[in-house]
């Protein structure tokens, strides 16, 4: 019997290093297991809006519908305010939260734009112009180092 060994063996990734790198990406919350745990009921609430009868009950009385879920007061306030960045911090995931976009009748891209520093028309124009550049958006540490280097340069000039 021949055994196909497949790809060359390599050392398993260090899970702590793997996860730590995610926190170095500017303006991004990677949907890690920790966030998935924290946001479980937020996401399951959002998922429930896939059903027309639940959407109707939610629209009739948002607060009362939210009170049926094991969601923190803070998260309920963020849901009522449609504060999507706050919800990402609390473990919300955009594919689940998008059920709330659509029950609000908001186009996906417009809802996404509310998480940025731009208005919807500005965001739409940025996308038409080729999107947000990865330049300066890859790494918080890299950005800090670059800023420090620039500050030093200016220091020398003066």
């Amino acid at each position: 019997m021949t055994i196909d060994k497949g790809a060359p063996a390599k050392a398993p990734l260090n899970i702590h290093e793997y996860l730590a790198e995610f926190d170095d990406i500017p303006g991004t919350r990677v949907y890690t297991a920790a966030r998935a745990r924290k946001g479980y009921h937020i996401n399951q609430f959002a998922m429930s809006l896939m059903k027309a009868e639940n959407r109707a009950r939610f629209k009739a009385d948002e607060r009362a519908y939210l009170d049926e879920w094991k969601i923190s007061e803070e998260a309920k306030q963020a849901l009522l305010a449609r504060d999507y960045n706050a919800l990402l911090d609390m473990g919300g995931n955009v594919y689940f939260l998008s059920k709330l976009f659509s029950s609000d009748g908001l186009p996906f891209a417009e809802a996404v734009s509310t998480m940025t520093d731009m208005t919807w028309p500005e965001y739409r124009q940025m996308m038409l112009d080729g999107g947000r550049s990865p330049e300066g958006n890859r790494s918080i540490k890299e950005n800090l180092a670059a800023a420090a280097a620039r500050a030093q340069e200016t220091g020398k000039d003066n």
Partner: protein, 286 residues
């Protein structure tokens, strides 16, 4: 025996489905996107694949957070388009190929890929949009579909290497199915996009095109790209591109490029599309 004759990569942005369903695919915004699929539509008519293994991800439609399978294969008879919050797409039901699907599922498990088996589910835009892009609006989809769902939402998602190796195992599984079947494998999702946070809207034309280059020929460099590189370079949802590596892995050691297309933007996303065929090594006579 059954054979994988070609691989197709394509974005699966939901807005493309809306464009098809509302007859907007020729307008100024969508026209340039759809023009890049014309070649493939004609080619698919000639190829007439019997079965398509369609690698995609569910976007909180069939699966919620209750169960998160890393790799799941659809072994059912048929699947209905999912209601994603605005009513199901008015597209034909998706017919499965349970004989081949169960054969692949069993083979993969024996090959040490511990698959989740799905008998019933609805399929969302991740699966139906690529069908619309490649086949237009037929009465019935012209091929049987084996859905292969990958978790690319909850981290850790499978590594690029694991995806590639799954593709290699799928190739072995298909080639051990006795019936003569023309099988294609499609990898969907991507390319660069980020749908969340302050960095939303990130696109990376240069990186995406390097990725397309890496699918062609005999390089396997793409299987070693770490998750962090997708996240930094292509946005948080660019990670969907690992699904293209299952397609690439299933084409064997070497591929030939048949068609390629890239367009920015479609909503928040960079559209990428590629058609590849496997290049079988010539067996040198002894």
């Amino acid at each position: 025996m059954a054979r994988i004759t070609a691989g197709v990569g394509s974005s699966h942005v939901p807005l493309l489905g809306v464009a098809v369903d509302q007859g907007k695919s020729n307008d100024d915004y969508f026209g340039p996107i759809f023009a890049g699929y014309e070649w493939t539509r004609q080619w698919e008519k000639e190829q007439k694949p019997d079965v398509i293994i369609l690698v995609y991800n569910d976007h909180a439609s069939a699966f919620d957070m209750k169960i998160v399978p890393t790799f799941a294969i659809g072994c059912g008879e048929s699947y209905k388009p999912a209601d994603e919050g605005w009513g199901p797409r008015q597209v034909p039901d998706v017919e499965g190929h349970p004989d081949l699907a169960w054969h692949i599922a069993q083979s993969l498990i024996l090959d040490e890929f511990d698959m989740t088996i799905i008998n019933e589910m609805d399929v969302d835009h991740g699966l139906t949009v690529p069908l619309s892009m490649m086949f237009g609006q037929p009465e019935a989809w012209p091929a049987k579909i084996i859905p292969l769902a990958v978790n690319v939402v909850t981290y850790p998602v499978p590594s690029g290497n694991r995806c590639w190796a799954l593709g290699e195992a799928i190739k072995r599984a298909v080639e051990s199915f006795p019936e003569d079947l023309n099988v294609q494998i499609w990898g969907t999702g991507g390319m660069s996009h980020q749908l969340q946070g302050k960095r939303a809207g990130l696109l990376n034309r240069e990186w995406d095109n390097k990725f397309l280059d890496m699918l062609i020929g005999d390089t396997d460099a793409a299987r070693w790209i770490p998750h962090i590189e997708y996240l930094r370079e292509t946005g948080s949802e660019g990670i969907e591109m690992v699904m293209w590596l299952i397609m690439r892995g299933a084409l064997g050691e070497k591929t030939r490029l048949l068609h390629r297309h890239y367009h920015i933007p479609c909503s928040n996303t960079a559209i990428g599309h590629i058609v590849l065929e496997p290049v079988e090594e010539e067996t040198v006579p002894a």
